[in-house]
Structures are given as C-alpha cells and as structure tokens.
Amino acid sequence: MKANYGYLDGSGEFFITIDTDLCIECKERSCVAACPVGLFEIIVDDYDDEVAAIKEEHRKKTQVRLRSLQAGHRSSGSALCCSVCTRSRGSFLVVRQ
C-alpha cells in the first residue's frame, strides 16, 4: 500500500509517500532509528501488518520535515531512511512537493 502523509493547503502540497508493502517482510526496521528527526514509528495497520508510518505529531508539519529530507537527498543522494532500507533502497519513501 502507498500511504501518503501530509497535506494540501494555501501554501502548497506537502506529501511523504511510504510504500508499506516493503515493510511487511522487513525484520530490521532500520528506518525508524536512522531518521534524525524521529519521523517514523512502526504501527499495526488495518490489515494487521506491521508497517512504518509517519508519527501523528509530524503529519501536519510535513512542509518543515520535507526540508530536512530534501537536504538529505541533496547531500547523499537519498534520505537516511531510504539508504538503510534493506528491502528496497530509495523507493521505500518518496518525497513530493
């Protein structure tokens, strides 16, 4: 499942997309520890799968959080969470603005 977290308001559209299908078989959950701003948590979704999600307190602040994610992309080619994802490098999370 593609889970889009974020919002659309007068200042623009700020969404972070997580491909949670990649989380189902994942044992490491490295993305949670790797994120320098503590964006992620592991939740049990509606279909009883353990998947990564953006924490509730960050969901309406994605405009600010996107800046740090984009800074990570610029400096190392991908955000830290994506670079440590063992299931699929880079495609675990997509930032759109």
Binding site: M1, N4, Y7, L8, D46, Y47
Partner: protein, 295 residues
C-alpha cells in the same frame, strides 16, 4: 420585535431498517459506527446484508454521538446492543465508541464500504467528509492500495459547503441544484481557503452577482480543489464518490467534467459508506474468531 434564525447548514438526518429481514434468524449480526467530525452513522448488518442504519449530526461528545446513532439505527427493530456480535468503530472519533470491539481507520472502511456499494470494479474512491477529504485507491476486494487524506484545511470539505449555505441563506441540500441553474459557468472563487472564499463571495454579492452564480463559483472551486488531490494518487476507472458531498450535484457534475470521467451511482446513502465498511470488517472479524475457537 421577533427574530427568526434558520439553520441553512442543517441537512436531513435519517434512519432506516429493512422489514423483510429477520435479524434474530441471522448467524452473525455485525455493526459499524462511524463517528465523523460533522456526522455520525451506525450500520447494522445481518449475515452481511444491510439491515438498518442511522445517520445524524455529531454532537459535542463522541461517545454520546456513537450511542445516539446506534440507538436510532436499532429503533423499532426489536434488537438491542447485546444482540450485536461484533462492532467496529471508525472515523475521527473511533477511539471514543464505548461499545466497539475494535477500531479501524475510515480509509480502510470507506474502501470496503465503497466496494459493497458500487461493486468490485470500483478502483478510485473519493470521500468528501465533513472536515476532511480522502482519495483512496483500492483493489477488487476493497483493500486499500494507495491513499491520501487532507485534513489540515476546510477547503474541499462538507463544512466549507455548510459555511457557504449559511452565508447565502440557502439550504445546504439545495446548493448543488441551484449552482447548476446558471447560464454561463463563472470563474471559481479561491480554492485554497474557506475563509478567503467566503470573503470573496461577499464581495461578489456586493458587485451584483446572483446567489446561484456565487454558488456555482464555489462548487467549481471545490471540485477543482479535490481534483488536485485525486491526481496525486491517480484516478483509475471505476470511480465513485462517498460522503455527504456526493449528494451535491453541483460539485459532482463539475468534478466529473474536470476529470472527464463519470462517477458510479448507488442506491445506498453515500454517507453510510464508512460505517458500512466497518460493519463488513466486523463480520469478517467475528467469523475469524469463531474459526479460531473451532480449531
């Protein structure tokens, strides 16, 4: 001097039950309660068939709203809460449904409910709720494959429409049809903020625009707003709309025009989609429990 105040935003609350079904003969009686920010619905199913529902305005207390909706759905059915085998709570106030056995997000429930209401061919569901808007992509079983929710801003929501109904002193249930009764489609008002749109509409009225023309401009803005959300997840046929705004022909017609796609129609009340999905989840969960016990 007497002053009369009319609540133009108030929509019709309703309850219904199918007299041809005997729920006491059913193996499984499941229920779903959707406590939204503006409206609450309760749905009761007998062996997977829609038996009863109620749709009413959410009050200031979520547990009371859940109880009131369920009591109204059960009114004159001969059933009471103890006869229901499993209840799923959903919606904004789902954690405050005191008699729920489990909670499930409204995103998953709308997909499941939409699948029953519109059939397994539905792939894209737009839920235009009271204070949020959800674009959902699902598979043939009604399982969510992609979703996006916008709940930071009232633009593109039912509450925005209620604000306009009050401003123009037009019943919210008549807004859609009136907005279509214009000779020429006016340019949309601001689609980014209800407060801006409201002040823009006041200026247009002062300039001499008719109420119908202002309503057309607002319905057009709302349609434009949700199209940009839908485009984020990609619109795939078949496409359906749930929630209260699905009853507003002015928004639906303009949305279909912008998407160049006709939405599916259903005989079900579009506002019960979330509660219906919750009741379907409840049935599946109680049957899973029974299988576990039988093993």
């Amino acid at each position: 001097m007497t002053e009369t105040t009319q609540e133009f935003w108030r929509w019709k609350e309703s309850n219904w039950h199918d007299e041809s079904i005997d729920p006491k003969a059913a193996e499984t009686v499941s229920a779903g309660v959707d406590v939204g920010s503006v409206s609450s619905q309760a749905v009761v199913m007998a062996d997977g068939k829609l038996y009863a529902y109620a749709s009413m305005r959410t009050g200031s207390d979520s547990p009371d709203s859940a109880r009131n909706a369920m009591n109204w759905a059960l009114e004159n059915t001969g059933l009471n809460l103890e006869d229901i085998h499993y209840t799923v709570g959903t919606g904004y106030g789902r954690v405050n449904v005191p008699f729920a056995d489990r909670t499930i997000t409204e995103i998953a429930c709308h997909a499941r409910g939409g699948n029953m209401m519109y059939g397994p061919s539905v792939r894209t569901i737009l839920d235009m709720g009271g204070q949020d808007c959800k674009a959902i992509h699902c598979d043939e079983k009604g399982k969510v494959t992609n979703f996006l929710m916008n709940d930071k801003c009232a633009a593109g929501t039912g509450r925005g429409m209620e604000v306009f109904a009050d401003l123009l002193a037009v019943s919210v249930e008549d807004v859609g049809e009136l907005s279509l009764d214009v000779d020429e489609e006016p340019p949309p008002v601001s689609s980014t903020c209800v407060v801006f749109a409201k002040s823009e509409a006041s200026s247009l009225l002062r300039e001499g625009w008719s109420k119908k023309r202002v309503l057309a401009a607002y319905c057009s803005a709302m349609a434009h707003r949700v199209v940009s959300l839908l485009e984020r997840i990609g619109v795939e046929k078949d496409f359906a709309i749930t929630g209260g705004i699905a009853k507003n022909a002015g928004v639906v017609t303009r949305l279909e025009k912008e998407l160049k796609l006709e939405s599916l129609k259903s005989n079900y009340d579009t506002q019960i989609a979330g509660a219906l999905g919750a009741a379907l989840f409840a049935r599946a969960l109680v049957e899973k429990q029974r299988k576990k016990v039988a093993r």
